[in-house]
Structure formats: structure tokens, C-alpha cells
Subunit: 351 residues, 2 copies
Amino acid sequence: MTRSSNLEAEPLFISACYCKPTSRTPVWIMRQAGRYLPEYRKIRSQVDFLTLTKTPDLAAEVTLQPIRRFDLDAAILFSDIMTPVEGMGVGMEFNPGPIVSEPIRTASQIDALRVPDADENVPFVAETIKIIRQELPSTIPLIGFAGAPFTLFTYLVEGQGSKTFSQARSFLFSEPELSLRILEKLTDVMIQYLRTQAQAGAQALMIFDSWAGLLSVEDYRAFAYPSVCRIIKSLGHLDIPLIYFPNQGASLLGTVKDCGADVVGIDWRTSLSAAREVLGSEVAVQGNLDPMALFSSKKDLGSKIDNVLKQGGSGPGHIFNLGHGIDRMTDPDRVAFLVERVRERSQAYML
Amino acid sequence: MTRSSNLEAEPLFISACYCKPTSRTPVWIMRQAGRYLPEYRKIRSQVDFLTLTKTPDLAAEVTLQPIRRFDLDAAILFSDIMTPVEGMGVGMEFNPGPIVSEPIRTASQIDALRVPDADENVPFVAETIKIIRQELPSTIPLIGFAGAPFTLFTYLVEGQGSKTFSQARSFLFSEPELSLRILEKLTDVMIQYLRTQAQAGAQALMIFDSWAGLLSVEDYRAFAYPSVCRIIKSLGHLDIPLIYFPNQGASLLGTVKDCGADVVGIDWRTSLSAAREVLGSEVAVQGNLDPMALFSSKKDLGSKIDNVLKQGGSGPGHIFNLGHGIDRMTDPDRVAFLVERVRERSQAYML
């Protein structure tokens, strides 16, 4: 019996990251600690977002909230991809997304960007991770994370979230050398930041490339991919699973398959079977239910979950997740339904 | 000689739509009539957007502006995808994108949506087309267009443009039957609207599915694709090229190839060679330079144009275009450079 119970001494989530056979498909949810939970909103009614990310007791509490409520197979640090960027000397606020006080668009601004030591930059993150690890059961690993350099670049240059990121994209093309200098510095900072998280106790690391899908394949290869590869290579010695999520990256997977990540996150536009075809059997996939499917009737939601399990189950190495962060209007009961469904049904779909 | 000059009695653009060999690659630019042109901004300083779309002399003038300035191979009607929707009884304004006064989210609102006769709904559109056709040289065809029903649906339900269209997407899943009723009515209106444009003199028709990329393949097949197929089938007897643009549709092309369109528009995320592999040799491709490439140095822009020509030239049936509408900050000189480059270089890349 290949799916023997002794394999389970390693947490299910970790085994799946390494494409080992598991007794069922592990499940966690992007942005599982967040506004759809009343217990999260209660804390947020007392502190602002930035304070929450920087206060270890509160950030740990918020990280643990969804673990107490649902049978999830992984926790993810509550933080923001912009958190380590502030220490580079970039002023910002959140309303609700990040707003950079002075968008980075000149050589002198780039020169002034600092590459701070992570311990000094974000001491509260290591502290938060230590608290979480004390509270989490040993079967539930903690995922640390960072933004991918290109995604952080889009916010730094654009100054805020945007439908099109026209400023960031026109800067990329009009100033390719300056752009690469920003990307280099961001890469240096993220390597340190992720390493610090692992040293503090994170048992897997995820790189969110939320805006990778803004780029053509050629420009992705020129501007976004090299920094992701450098991060992954620099963290290889940590010997923990590394997850890369190139959001809306349908056309990028042929490139992404060689980045060295153990797991590739797939948004809901690409079917897991199509992703597996491109990525091959050595890379695990994570995803990819459309978050909005949680607004369907339970009957429809059930079919949609089964469909993801079916496509993901075509080999070992599937971690069930949404294809993007959960929407803040989601009913927590639907999340409970989802987690239970994956736990009950996944084995039937495994090859 | 297969590329004989007598083929050119038919406008280059039309031949390319039908995958016939042409002496060079035709070129036009999405949103070529628009804010990046000083002559357009001059007119807009005198009238608001809605008035401009509804005043035949002015809409015709704006349509012709880029034709006078650049050696383009096609003109496209100046209008907005929401123009025919207003006559369904939907109040809206533009600021600058469409804002629907009362988003459609109830059965009674859907029942109240009218399916007006196109002549009565948008008489100014046929009038505009007639004026343009009188002015345009016979070598330059006029493209009419409409929004795809799913894309119009997202605006009607969301109420305005959005990064995520959460309201529209959650409505789609929570109310699939009501959603299909909205889509049916929109399809009926668009069929009439496009037919009216052809009867008035439009020599090709394009369907813009700007938000097709919000959907997984399964949901695209359930909600967006059937209406596109019905439109194309209903217009087949017109015997003019039909172009379908599923924006950000990398994962949808395997479905799209059977929709019956003569030409499929490809955004810049998917390479034309990858698109051709999925679409086969019977369907022409249109695209797909990243609009932001126009902010590159001329040297870099030249290489990027050549790369699109190379990938598009792997068979007959390529219409050069951007992969999305031109950005309003674009320098018109870069557009002149682009058009000249395509005219000069394209033959070298044709198989």
C-alpha cells in the first residue's frame, strides 16, 4: 500500500508539496485569515491594518483564527507583501490596499532604496512566527511568504493598486535598466526576509507574484522570472517546500516549470490538468477553485470542488486551494463545507 | 507567385481576415481614435464623451482622424460598447468609464430590460457609419463592433468597471438562471445592433469580450461562449469578416477556436505562435503587441514589433494590432513608427 499511514508522520501538506502520495488532498485557503471572518473583523475594529501586521500577539491570533474554526492543513502568516518594503525607506499607508507616498521613478530614488538587515527591518515578523509555532499543532505547518520582486515593483512604481498598472508598465519599457536595479534590490531584500521567516520557524515559503500576468512571455523572462529564480536558488539550502504563485500566468507556465519551486500555485483561469501537462510530474500544483464559486448553491459548489479534485488528482502533489484570495463577503459556512468536502471526497479522485 | 498584386483588389485587411495570402501584414490599432491624439482631445474639450458618440458628424470625424495621420489598413467606428445598452432602459453616465445608475441584480429589473429595435435604439450609429464610408478610401474597410454579452453583463451587474468584478462574479454563481436571462437579452440586442452596422456599411464586425478572462474554462463555456456563438451564427449570412476578441483568454482558445469567428484577437500575454497552434490554420489572428511597448526606445520597440511579425507570420492570416487598446499617454510619433515598421518589415517574416 503506497499510501501507508506512516507517511503521515510528515504533515500531509508537506508531503503533497514534495509530490509524495498522501491519504487525502490537503487544503488551505489563500487569505484564510481575513475579513470574511467575524472574529477577524472584531480585532480589526480595534486596530488598523498596519498595526495588526506589526503586533506579534495580534498577528499570531489572527493567523490562528481560521485554524480553530476549520480543519485546515496549513496556516499562513498574517502579514502583507509590502511589509518588508517599508524598511527599504518607502513611505506607505493602507487604504485598504498599499499606497506609496512617493512612487519610485528616478535614479536617485532607486539609489536611496535601502537593503536592510531583516532582523532589524521586521523583528515583529520573526516574533509572530515564534508565537504561532507554539500554538499550532504539529500536523499543521506554518507557511511564510513574500511578494515576488516584479509584483512589489509594480506597487513601488505605480504608487498603488491599479486595473492596468500603466505607470509601472510604461516605466518598465521606457527605463529597463532602472527597472532592473529596483528589481535587484527587491530580490536581495526578499531573500533575507524569507530566510528570516524560515529561521524563525516557517515550515514552507510562498512567493506571491500577483501581477506576473501583466507581462508577455518575453518580458516576464526579462524582468520577472530571473528574480524569482534567484530567490528560489538562494533558499534551496533551507530544505523546506517553496511555492511560487504566478497569478494569471496561463501563458507563463512553460517558463515557470524550470524555476525550481516545489509547488506552483495556479489561478482559476488555467485548469489544473492543463497546468500539470505543462509543469510535468515533478512539480506539485496548488489551487484552483474560483473564489466566487463559494457564492454558489452548495450543490453547485460541491460539483465545482469535485471538478478541481478530479483535475488535481491526476497524480500526487495536489494541494487544494482557491485560485485567488477568498472574497471578504464570503459566508464562513461555505468555507466549512468546502474543507469538509475536500477531506471526504479527495481520495476518490486520486489516481 | 501566390502573393500576386491582383489579390489586392480586395482590401488587404479583408484578405487577411480570410487567411488569404497578402503582400504585407495589414495593421490597425485598437482605440486608434482616442485620447492620445491631440486632434481628438481638441474635439473632446468641446463635447462630452456621450455626446461625441451620439453626434454622427463628430463621431465620423474622430473615426477618421487616425486614418488621416497614419497609413492604417482599417478604420473602426468610434463608439462605446455600452452605447446600445442604454436603449435597453439602463441609465448610465461615463466618468470616464461607464457607471450604471442602478446595477441590475433582481428578476424584476431583468424583466424590465427592453430589447429595442436597433434603428430606433441607435439611429445615430447607422448615420455615423454612412458618413464615414463616404469619406474613407475604398482600400480601407470600416470595422463595426459590439461588446460581447458576458462583458456587458459584468458592467450591468457590477455597475461600473472594477479590478475584480466581485459583484458580477458572485451574482453569476449565486444566480445562474437570472444571469443567463440577462445574457440572452444582451445577445438579442447585440445581434440586431451588429446587423444594423453591417447594413449601414460596416465591412467587418468585431466582438469585444474584454472580461472573458475573468472566467474559468468551464464557466466561460457555460456563460460567455454560447452567446458569442449565437451572435456569430446569426451574422454568418452577412458574408463579412467577424472578429472575436476574448481578452486575457489564454486558457480559452481551445474553446474559442470553434466559435465560428474568422479572426480571433489575441492579447499580449499569449504569443501569436502559441495561439496559432491552438487555433489552427483556418482562423486568422489579430494582435498582439503590448500597448506599453510604445513607451520603449525606438530600438527596443522595433525588436518587439519584429517579434510579433515573426510569430504572426508563421502562416497567412495575421492582422497586426496591439494586444489591447492604446494607452492615452502614448506619443503619436511612436504610432507612426510602428505603422511604418509593419509596412516595411512584414513581408520578410511571412512564410
